[in-house]
């Protein structure tokens, strides 16, 4: 849950916005950044759905290199966890 994901802002409706990463878009919170500090096209680090800091594109790409491996493991965990809302298996 503490994994920060670099995303790019594509729409701003402060205090929320729409951000994109790897072709996936999601609504995110911008409340933790000042309104005048964010603009469309900015790269941001998103934690549990909220932008916590702006970053440059080069760093966003570098973080994604590491995240691809971490998220591969996380995906397996989430698939397991998602089944929790359906009938229990333990």
């Amino acid at each position: 849950m503490c994994v920060g994901v670099p995303m790019q802002l594509v729409e701003i409706n402060y205090p929320t916005g729409i951000a994109e990463a790897k072709g996936v878009t999601r609504e995110i919170g911008l409340q933790l950044l000042p309104q005048d500090a964010v603009k469309i096209g900015d790269h941001i680090i998103v934690h549990v759905g909220f932008a916590i800091e702006k970053i440059d594109k080069k760093l966003a790409d570098e973080i994604w290199e590491t995240l691809d491996e971490i998220l591969r493991v996380m995906d397996e965990e989430e698939k397991s966890a998602r089944s929790l809302n359906s009938p229990r298996d333990d």
């Binding site: 503490c2 409340q31 759905g49 970053i55 973080i63 290199e65 493991v73 966890a81």
Partner: protein, 345 residues
């Protein structure tokens, strides 16, 4: 790759031959990179990179989880929390096994949406984690949450637990790799106490192997030349003052509290609870939750591992009775837990 080889060579040259150096990381994602990259095997024998309390799921009190289970069993309550929390074992089972009305969320936004979609129910957001998850929970409070949404706060403060560890001579920490994104919130200045008060170098690092190696190298350079201070090799994300807006919003809704850390015990001022002003949103007060005595998990040394006093491989349950599919202790449940990471690496 040549650059990495050069850094490792330099690290070898900086470690003194006549003593053991122990550098602690306090972030599950750092531990993930260290373990999966095989970095430890490339370090000098007398340089230890030890995993510390970087897993919020692991330290979440058993009492809070049992209270969450009990809340989810009320007909008029929907309990929502992050996925890892659903599988954490307790003396009463896990939320997944023993809970009734519960849902996994990946963002506090989803807690808001579930509450809005279920106006006839009370939605309780079991909100856990360090500063990176506290800030988003504070953010939804700032945005305004539905009347039927309540917060069960089990948030913990990273700088406070690190100071406890520094004072423990048994651990013997020579340097800290500070967590990258916690630092983005609290600022690299938050770690100045370690250099100024305890003479321990603390360097903020990012999550890729090369950046972490830079962080380790800087700690060793400081130890060698005696010029101990807070370092930052993750400057693209972390500023000295941190995210001031996030700090203000957190301070508006939360205050420090004396809390338990699972497997570790009671630590004054190390947690965050909602301020009295927001008692009507505080699930502890609204549902009159009581503290439940923690039960020891037979054979599990999760607390000792979190404190940096043992590696997962020292636990007799590790990879035997305790696996990610059959976790006996919280350190095997979360992908940020040292046991879970070491099992998969």
């Amino acid at each position: 790759m040549e650059k990495i080889k050069d850094i490792i060579k330099l690290i070898h040259s900086l470690v003194p031959e006549n003593r053991r150096i122990r550098i602690m990381n306090v972030c599950g994602s750092h531990e993930h990179t260290i373990a999966f990259s095989g970095m430890r095997s490339l370090m000098p024998n007398n340089l230890e990179i030890i995993p510390g309390p970087g897993c919020p799921v692991c330290v979440c009190p058993e009492s809070d989880i049992i209270n969450a289970i009990n809340l989810s069993r009320k007909d008029d309550v929907i309990l929502v929390t992050y996925g890892d929390m659903l599988r954490v074992p307790t003396q009463k089972g896990s939320i997944r096994a023993e809970g009734k009305n519960f849902r996994m969320i990946t963002s506090p936004f989803e807690a808001m949406n579930i509450a809005k979609s279920n106006p006839d129910k009370k939605t309780v957001f079991f909100s856990i984690g360090f500063e990176t998850t506290t800030a988003p929970t504070a953010a939804i409070l700032e945005m305004g949450i539905p009347e039927n949404l309540f917060i069960l706060s089990s948030h913990r403060l990273t700088p406070t637990i690190m100071e406890i560890l520094v004072k423990d001579a048994e651990i013997g920490i020579d340097g800290f790799i500070a967590p990258g994104h916690v630092s983005a919130i609290v600022g690299s200045n938050a770690w100045n106490v370690f250099s100024e008060k305890y003479g321990i170098p603390t360097v903020v690092a990012g999550f890729e192997a090369e950046n972490l190696l830079f962080g380790i190298m800087e700690i060793l350079q400081q130890l060698k030349n005696g010029n101990v201070q807070t370092g930052n090799v993750y400057k693209g994300v972390v500023r000295p003052e941190g995210n001031v807006q996030a700090q203000k919003i957190m301070a508006k809704f939360f205050e420090a509290a004396d809390v338990n850390w699972r497997g570790i015990g009671h630590i004054p001022g190390s947690g965050l609870e909602l301020r009295a002003k927001y008692a009507d949103k505080d699930a502890r007060k609204v549902f009159r939750l009581e503290e439940i005595k923690e039960a020891k998990i037979p054979g599990c040394i999760c607390g000792t591992i979190i404190l940096g006093k043992a590696y997962p491989s020292a636990c007799k349950l590790f990879k035997k009775a305790c696996t990610p599919k059959t976790p006996k202790g919280p350190c095997m449940v979360s992908m940020e837990g040292a046991c879970n990471i070491w099992y998969k690496a």
